[in-house]
């Protein structure tokens, strides 16, 4: 069990991290695991249409980046996990369960103060992960 675990968000976010993760995974000959963690709402019921739509967006984002990576690196094994959990917890849980080699996350450029106060996936991952973390600056083209 090994692999590079990459966090994918809504459309566009995490794509650059996935590309870098794919390069590393290809070199290491380990699988690349794309993780879409989502939480419809921290408050109240989460189910129903909102969650369905978020899943649809996640499916689409994953399919898009997966197709791109598969075309570029035919030898790479790409796996997908959709997890109904806060993105950070989803990433850490998948990485731990798989005994992954590293986590790759995108970084959108929120400053340290904002990140500490408001929370940011990257910030929290870096501080909570017990395995190496690869922080990849987001590609400007992917930023919506």
């Amino acid at each position: 069990m090994a692999g590079i675990v990459v966090g994918i968000g809504g459309s566009g976010s995490g794509y650059e991290a996935a590309r870098t993760g794919a390069r590393v995974a290809d070199l290491m000959k380990v699988p690349l695991v794309l993780v879409f963690g989502y939480e419809a709402s921290a408050m109240g019921p989460r189910g129903g249409p909102l969650e369905d739509q978020i899943e649809a967006v996640g499916d689409e984002a994953i399919a898009e980046i997966r197709a791109e990576l598969a075309a570029a690196r035919p030898a790479l094994t790409i796996e997908v996990e959709m997890v109904r959990q806060r993105p950070v917890d989803a990433l850490l849980d998948v990485a731990t369960a798989r005994n992954a080699d590293a986590i790759a996350v995108g970084h959108g450029g929120s400053g340290p103060f904002r990140a500490a106060l408001l929370g940011s996936v990257t910030y929290e991952i870096v501080h909570r992960a017990t395995l190496p973390v690869l922080v990849v600056p987001n590609d400007a083209d992917d930023e919506a």
Partner: protein, 518 residues
């Protein structure tokens, strides 16, 4: 190990264990109730209705809200739809009742926005200068900025990190606790006397009788209740997220108990302290900024600033129980075909309902400015009316969910004592009390002398509360013409409803709604 897109990783939806620990669930439960803001907004009004008996009303209002939480819990197990009351109403009574229940939720959230914004504007200014707080243009501008910021935050999907939340809530509770203890200490013994604008206010020694209803008229109690249900609004979310908690056999129960005890305790001692410090009259005379006015008397300057900050952060936190539920209800209504489908649009990057969020924010600002203009140009205190009006809307939509629970699960009521109590008796108590409070308040408010003020010769509360709710009926009829398919949905037959205490409690998708094909 390979999981493909269409695999079963999503089939266990609704059963996936979450990651909320005990502290997190308590923090969510208490923070979403926003005790600091709730007290600041309502203590003066409640005291105005029931005088020194405010602690009793504060405690008593919890009873129907707790009972309704039971129906939320079980209905959520059957259909964890973000439309909550709307979808449950449709299942139990059909599309029209469901539509009105959803509308009630949206109205409640909309009506409270000006109050949130108004208090925030006022307290931000008070933080720097007391005299400037009377400048209506300044406070209104800050209030509009507040709504805009909150809307933006909800659109971005930003949630405070868990640590910030614990810190903010901790400060809030500590300041409120210190305020209450100091206020009660000062009011015992000789007490203190203050003269404000020629009126002399004198401390009253706290009495145990303040938590008994003796001597109160039914009208006073219902008037107090309709204001006080508002302070527990949001507490139920704590119960609803239970399924997500770690170790879900123990955490939810403990968290619910803890957060309830914390909330009740803080409301009780703060109500006692507020009423005792300079007597009930002072609190109701300063209902706009009661916490601040009292804090100035009871607390050292630095603590007063902290109190202002606590109320402000608490007001900001309660946007989670205001904008989020409203927009989720709008999304659900749009998605189920009961309202324009655009309401269901989500931002593909931020994964939040963008159109609903902006629409709600925009209408909130318009509504806020309208209320400011009305308040400024007439003798009507529209802010105070808005708290009572929100109480009315809460009473309607919570009351409806209590009744929905009983009707929806009617085949399971008599299965065991537990079934009977949890899905029968408790929802019935909550539903009946709230619907009674609604009816009684509308009845009382129809009288022109009903506080706080009148417009067009009838009670302001009646105008704001009931007219907004009633506006739902023509809107619903318009939707019924445009979206006939939704309005053909029939209530769920009792025999297809699953046992809410069983292993598989999920109901079939609602009416025309089908799972997204993948």
């Amino acid at each position: 190990m390979t999981t493909t897109l269409d695999s079963s990783s999503m089939a266990d939806k609704g059963l996936k264990g979450g990651s909320l620990g005990l502290v997190a669930v308590i923090v969510i439960g208490v923070a979403s109730t926003a005790p600091g803001y709730s007290l600041a907004a309502s203590i003066g009004l409640v005291t105005g209705e029931v005088g020194a008996k405010a602690p009793f009303v504060m405690l008593f209002a919890f009873v129907p809200m707790a009972c309704i939480a039971a129906s939320f819990y079980y209905l959520n197990k059957a259909d964890p739809d973000c439309g909550t009351n709307f979808t449950w109403g449709v299942r139990a009574f059909g599309p029209k009742a469901g539509w009105i229940a959803g509308w009630g939720c949206i109205v409640a959230d909309l009506v409270i926005m000006p109050n949130l914004a108004g208090i925030s504007g006022q307290y931000v200014v008070l933080l720097f200068s007391e005299s400037a707080a009377n400048n209506i243009w300044l406070t209104t501008t800050i209030g509009i900025a507040f709504i805009t910021t909150m809307t933006w935050i909800c659109w971005k999907g930003i949630e405070l990190s868990a640590r910030s939340q614990v810190l903010l809530l901790g400060t809030e509770l500590a300041v409120l606790g210190a305020f209450a203890v100091i206020a009660i200490a000062k009011s015992t013994g000789g007490g203190i006397t203050r003269v404000v604008d020629g009126t002399t206010y004198q401390s009253v020694s706290p009495k145990l009788s303040w938590i008994s209803p003796s001597g109160l008229s039914t009208s006073a109690i219902t008037a107090g209740l309709v204001l006080a249900v508002f302070i527990y609004w949001g507490w139920d979310t704590c119960v609803s997220v239970n399924e997500e908690a770690k170790d879900s056999s123990r955490t939810p129960g403990l968290a619910a108990v803890f957060s309830t005890v914390v909330l009740l305790l803080i409301y009780l001692i703060t109500a006692y302290g507020s009423v005792a410090l300079l007597g009930p009259q002072f609190v109701s005379d300063n209902s706009d900024d009661a916490m601040y006015a009292l804090g100035k008397v009871a607390l050292p300057t630095i603590m007063v600033k902290l109190l202002l900050i606590a109320v402000l952060t608490s007001a900001a936190a309660s946007c989670q129980t205001t904008i989020l539920p409203a927009t989720r209800t709008m999304l659900s209504m749009g998605s189920h075909g009961a309202a324009p489908p655009k309401l269901a649009r989500i931002d593909r990057r931020r994964l939040t309902p963008d159109f609903s969020t902006f629409l709600f924010g925009g209408i909130s600002i318009v509504w806020y400015v309208l209320l400011v203009v009305i308040s400024h140009n007439t003798s009507t205190d529209a802010y105070s009316a808005s708290i009572a009006a929100v109480g009315l809307a809460i009473a309607v939509y919570y009351g409806l969910s209590g009744v929905s629970c009983i009707v929806f699960f009617r085949r399971h009521l008599l299965k065991s004592v537990r079934h009977f109590v949890m899905i029968g008796v408790l929802p019935a108590i909550g539903g009946v009390v709230l619907l009674y409070v609604f009816g009684k308040t509308v009845w009382d408010a129809a009288g022109a002398d009903y506080a706080p003020g009148t417009v067009f010769g009838v009670g302001t509360v009646l105008v704001f509360g009931t007219l907004l709710l009633a506006l739902g009926i023509p809107l619903m009829l318009v939707c019924a013409r445009k979206y006939p398919a939704f309005f053909r949905i029939r209530p769920e037959p009792a025999d297809v409803v699953k046992d809410p205490t069983g292993a598989d409690t999920l109901a079939e998708p609602l009416g025309t709604y089908r799972k997204v094909a993948r």
